[in-house]
Symmetry: C2
Subunit: 321 residues, 2 copies
């Protein structure tokens, strides 16, 4: 009877709902604007109204095993979103989102985790990590997130917040870049899309080298501009990828000393650059990792970036209910 | 019938064998000199001869559930010691030690892991980590080792070598100290007993400050001298503990971003300094860890340092057989 789960990808702009079958096909989906609502109550009400016709289409609520939600600052243990800086209805408190959706849909089981963990579950269930027991997903987007799998299980830690690898300090001390987390020198401040733009701006300012990136005012520069310029062979833009990959490789060599994963799986906008970013990551990793680990870890790009990976990943959580 | 396990603590100097009951009491023990033998075969033969009377004393081999060995560079998956730099019969190859002991004792099951993982198992079974599902043991001795427990399980990674936190790079680039692993800037190069001595020597060389540590030639300085001087209030010796603790606190704040453990448990000679080392660790951690993690992790000293923790820890592995 229970043939489907629902995956919810709660993003800063859109929240996508998908009904997913056991083979990982999204058989029905719809979305709402995340920030159109000023309170969590209104957001959940709209979400429930959006979901009801989808559920009816596959035969009603009795066919649904459970709901999985991937959300920024999501806490798996508590089913809450906690102090999510980019959500107008969630930035200054704790929202019991899993409970609220469950109540809105007649008591159905709802599990919630953060977006990077959902991506890791998606890779394990339907992507390039099928069959792997130890791997790390690193999301390179506006921020740097991570989902860590050890012994076949997501790592949540004692409080539900483990896997914040974007906030490992790579440049200690005062010379480290300020980070959105309030500290300095975090991986995210250098290797997110935003961090890459900061790198490009610094390089433009510190040299007179010709570059396509000078065609735009520095404060309007976006990660996409760097990608376009690099693909045209622009030296400075290529150097941004080199530096970004170098630091990511160094970071991964430290992560390997922790959990020695079988693979690192990269996910998110920055990965569309393909070998431009992956080659310097691999080279830096090989140079920096301890001898006993050399040649062991694979470096992969997500197989789910063109599908709705976040919905699929979150939906995998629905089977746990 | 199976009422005992055997724990083996294979150290650079002594190898201690203990027969352990279900309550964690060592009911019989004995030891041999690890390096008296030039081949692994001779070492195992001597070990088996040493064990036989212990086993007889508790009622013969049928009362033994299994054997657990904690050894440097031990690989849990393969039961091997691999390229252990400090063992004359094990430094340039792979020794199938678990298999060799098993064959020497009529086919009994033998499991092997590295010494820091054995310490973590000991803490979980009999020490301060009883009941914890997520914690990290950091051993501060000649080197810096670690045993990581996540979701109640030791972390071995894809190859059996996970948990090398002594070789996370803390000082990137050329200014990092050389490390025994052949790289630069590792935590171990600063925060092991040996690393602390290097810190003291650097400080003595770079200042004219009076210090009890100047009573000895710098090349004869040992970690114990630093401890004695610090306990007498020697400013320079106290500063060595401050700097060591500061870096350990920074390292732990990064480890928390990985696995958010409930506790860090410190083990080994350096910990005999008590608050001299623990206070700067806690202060540095509180200063450096991400806001969402503040105030959560405990910082503990092993409860097993005076007992034979390594034997107890290794023996816990014997119950897995």
């Amino acid at each position: 009877m229970k043939k489907y789960v629902i995956g919810v990808d709660l993003g800063g702009t859109n929240t996508v709902f998908g009904v997913v079958d056991k083979e990982g096909n999204i058989v029905a989906d719809a979305s709402i604007k995340t920030q159109k609502y000023s309170t969590a109550e209104d957001f959940v009400k709209a979400g429930v109204e959006c979901l009801k016709p989808l559920i009816e289409r596959v035969g009603g609520i009795d066919t649904i095993q459970g709901i999985g939600i991937g959300a920024p600052n999501g806490n798996y243990y508590n089913g809450t979103i906690e102090f999510a800086p980019n959500l107008i209805w969630g930035h200054d408190g704790i929202v019991p989102l899993a409970k609220m959706f469950s109540e809105g849909l007649g008591g159905i089981g709802v599990k919630l985790t953060n977006d990077a963990n959902a991506a890791a579950m998606g890779e394990m269930a339907y992507g390039v990590a099928q069959g792997m027991k130890n791997f790390i997903v690193i999301t390179l987007g506006t921020g740097v997130g991570s989902g860590i799998v050890i012994n076949g299980q997501l790592v949540y830690g004692c409080d539900g917040f483990a896997g914040e690898l974007g906030h490992v300090v790579m440049v200690p001390g005062e010379e480290g870049r300020t980070c959105g987390c309030g500290r300095r020198g975090c991986l995210e401040a250098y290797c997110s899309a935003t961090g890459m733009v900061r790198t490009a701006r610094e390089m433009l300012q510190n040299s007179d080298e010709k570059s396509l990136l000078r065609d735009k005012p520095a404060d309007q520069l976006e990660a996409l501009d760097i990608n376009i310029a690099a693909n045209k062979g622009d030296r400075l833009a290529l150097e941004v990828y080199e530096r970004t990959g170098k630091m990511l490789g160094e970071a991964c060599s430290n992560f390997t000393a922790f959990s020695s994963p079988e693979a690192y799986i990269f996910f998110g906008g920055v990965c569309h650059a393909g070998e431009l970013i992956m080659k310097p990551i691999r080279e830096s990793y090989d140079k920096n990792v301890m001898n006993i680990f050399k040649g062991k870890a694979k470096f992969l790009i997500s197989g789910l970036m063109d599908k709705n990976a976040a919905v699929l990943g979150a939906s995998a959580l629905g089977w746990e209910v």
